[in-house]
Structures are given as C-alpha cells and as structure tokens.
Homo-oligomer: 232 residues x 2
C-alpha cells in the first residue's frame, strides 16, 4: 500500500505549510486555501488529509512539540554528566533552530488552540511532564529530591515564560539571551561554589558546541517546521 507513506508525507507537507501560514498571517487569518497555496495544492487536498482545520492545527502543534523533544534526545546522546544533561535540556529548548522569532510567534498563536482542544492539552501536558521529569532527574544530583522537584518546576515554568515573552515582543530574542537567563536561574536555584560554577560553565560550552553540529545540521533542520531554516 502506498497510502500510508503518501498520506504521511502529505500530512507532513501540509502541517509544515500550515505552520508557515500561521507565521505569515496569524492563526485567525490562516485559511485552508492559503495553507494549500503554500503547499502547492488546492484546499480540497488539505481537507482530504485532515478532516478539518482543528485537526490540521493539532498536527502542527504535535509536530512542533515533537521537534522540541527530539532535540533534547539528540543532545542527551552526547551528554555525559548531570551538568551536561541539565544543559542539554536548556540548550535544546533555546537553540536557534528551534527557538527563533518566527517559531515563537507561531507557538504563541498555536497555544490559543489548547484550551479548547483535548488533543492539544494532552500533547502540552505530556511535554510539560517530560521536561519536568528530565529536569528533576538531573537536579537530583545537586539537590535533595524535594528541592530538585521544586527547582525543576521553577525552571520548566521559566522556559515557558521566556518562550511567551519572545513570541509577544516585537523584536527577536537571541538564543544566547534566553540561555543566559536560564543560567541566571540555575545559578540562583542550585547551591553553587566555585567548582560547580566552573563545571556549569564547562558543560554549557560543551553542549553549545555540540548543538551547533547536532541541531544545526542539515538533517535536523529538515525536520524543522520553519522553512526560514532552508530545507535540503
């Protein structure tokens, strides 16, 4: 059967086009025809592959969240200490490929679907939990369990805060700004003597370099929903 593969290819193309449309026009002015036009097909094709606009937007939301979690996994592969894994989570969330003005604005638009979509809520909740659990796991190396959970929650909320702010403000936010803000939070939350500060510094640098290769690669960028990151 070709159906499975063609269908999934089309759905990928179309959700990518929808993402682009949301960036260009905003959620409210994104129409199926515009989505079709970006993808080079007619409105009918869009509706053939997605039963309605809601499910198309759910697919966009799912994919953009998936990209984020894949980037964490990717950086985890090269991380060899609690310091490095902690920084892998942070940097995966704020590396240029994933975190840029267009994507943040699209995210801000897309989350407006969440309150009225069970599916989006499910995705959002699963994502929160995953990041929180990852953070907690690493922070347990620096803090007692209870404190680690509190700090993980704090960092998780702060990540969302930076994303919203970046999407709401009119000018772009640099990757490095966001990462430095997270560093500030981490240094305030963790008990930091000279040695551990140095280790954080070292870990951040190492993971940032790795991110350039792992997340900046063509292969990874192709997955990106933001066609500003040129594909192929």
């Amino acid at each position: 059967m070709r159906s499975n593969s063609i269908r999934s290819i089309r759905r990928t193309e179309l959700s990518g086009a929808a993402f682009e449309a949301v960036i260009l026009y905003g959620l409210r002015k994104t129409t199926l025809e515009k989505v079709g036009k970006i993808a080079g097909v007619s409105k009918g094709v869009v509706l053939h592959h997605f039963k309605d606009k809601t499910s198309l937007l759910e697919a966009v939301f799912r994919r953009s969240n998936l990209l984020l979690s894949e980037s964490v996994v990717e950086l985890y592969r090269y991380s060899q200490s609690p310091y490095e894994r902690l920084w892998a989570i942070i940097i995966a969330n704020f590396f240029e490929t994933i975190f840029n003005h267009r994507v943040c604005q699209a995210w801000v638009s897309l989350i407006s679907e969440v309150p009225h979509s069970k599916e989006c809520q499910r995705i959002q909740l699963a994502n929160d939990r995953r990041i929180r659990s990852n953070l907690t796991h690493e922070l347990k190396n620096f803090l007692p369990e209870k404190d680690a959970e509190l700090a993980a929650h704090h960092l998780g909320v702060h990540i969302d805060g930076i994303w919203v702010r970046a999407g709401l403000r009119p000018h772009p936010m640099k990757s490095i700004e966001a990462i430095s803000e997270m560093e500030y939070a981490i240094l305030k939350l963790l008990p930091c003597d000279k040695t551990s500060t140095a280790k954080h510094f070292e870990a951040r640098n190492k993971i940032e370099s790795i991110a350039e290769i792992a997340l900046g690669s063509k292969a990874f960028k192709e997955k990106s929903l933001d066609s500003q990151n040129p594909k192929i």
Copy 2:
C-alpha cells in the same frame, strides 16, 4: 453630547461580551454574532461600535491588561514598605479576581493576536515595562541596582510563565499555588536571612488580607471581564 458616554458604555459591554465568548468558544470559534448574543444585541451593533473583529479583540486585550494594572495600583495604595510593595505586585497579578482558570485560558487565546497586531504589541510592551519597572524599583531596596534589574526581569518572565501554564493546563490553578511559586522565586533571588524572611512572610500576609478587601470588593469585581465573578 450623549455619544461619548453611550459609546463607551456599549464598547465596555461589548468587549466584556467578547471576553466571555472567547472563554466559552475559544478565539477561533468566537463570532460577532455570538458576541452580540451574549451582549443582547445584533451583530450589526457590534460592528457599529468596533470597526472590525480585530479592533474588538484589541479592546478586550487592552481592558484585561488595564484591569491588571489597576489592581497593582489598588494594592500599592495600602503598601507601606518595600516588602509590602513587592508583594502587592505579586498578589495583584495572582489574586482570584484576576487570576482564575477562565481568565487564564482567555488570556492564552487572546495573546495569539499579539504577533499580528501592532496595537496589542504596544499594550503588551507597555505592561511588561510597567511591571518590570515596579519590580526593579522595589528590589533596589534589597539588591544593588544591576542585580535588582536582573531579578526584576526574572520575576516578570516567571509571572508570564505561570499565567501561560495556568491557561494551558486542563485543571484550574489556585491563586495560592501561584503566589507560593513566586515566593519560592523571591526567596531564591533575594539575599535572605531570618529577619528578612520573616518580613516577607509578614508583608505577604498583610497584602493578602488587604487584597481580600480591595480586590475582592463588589466595586472591583464589577470591573472584571469575567462574568463568572458576578457583577452588581
């Protein structure tokens, strides 16, 4: 001329109705007819007072932000020390009247307008700056200027983070949870010995009591956009 007062009364009624519609149906399913129905008028009346849907939504956004800043002003009036003014800012942002599930969900819906509306960006930016400046001003009493600015920014971002999270998750977030999370952040950010911790505790309690009266009053609730807080 009656025009000014009637027009502004109608605009207030209609933006309130629009807010309610956004809560009930989500931004995408909010139609001018539904807004009219909630306000007890026809679609035509809505379009007579707002030139289009965008400007109606901008009005909603403006009003909901105004409510927030008014609540800060209200609590400031009763605050007599840096501790109390700091807590006034926090509690104004998270008191039940302002911070509840319906309102958070509506906010999450509404901010999707920001990336494509200069007016909303202006409002959002002005609000950010105001809160940040308020926070910085108070924090200077506890920290050197540079640190105060960093901490103020951190707290500002965190406030937004809590708001988004509260709007995205399917179950309500209690006022006290949010405030406690902010307390956690404050205690990590400020140099805290026993005396200052006690003073924070005292200030938080005092302002919380005052908020019950100042923000929980009928007069203040009437301003609220959330008709779940029954008016009159």
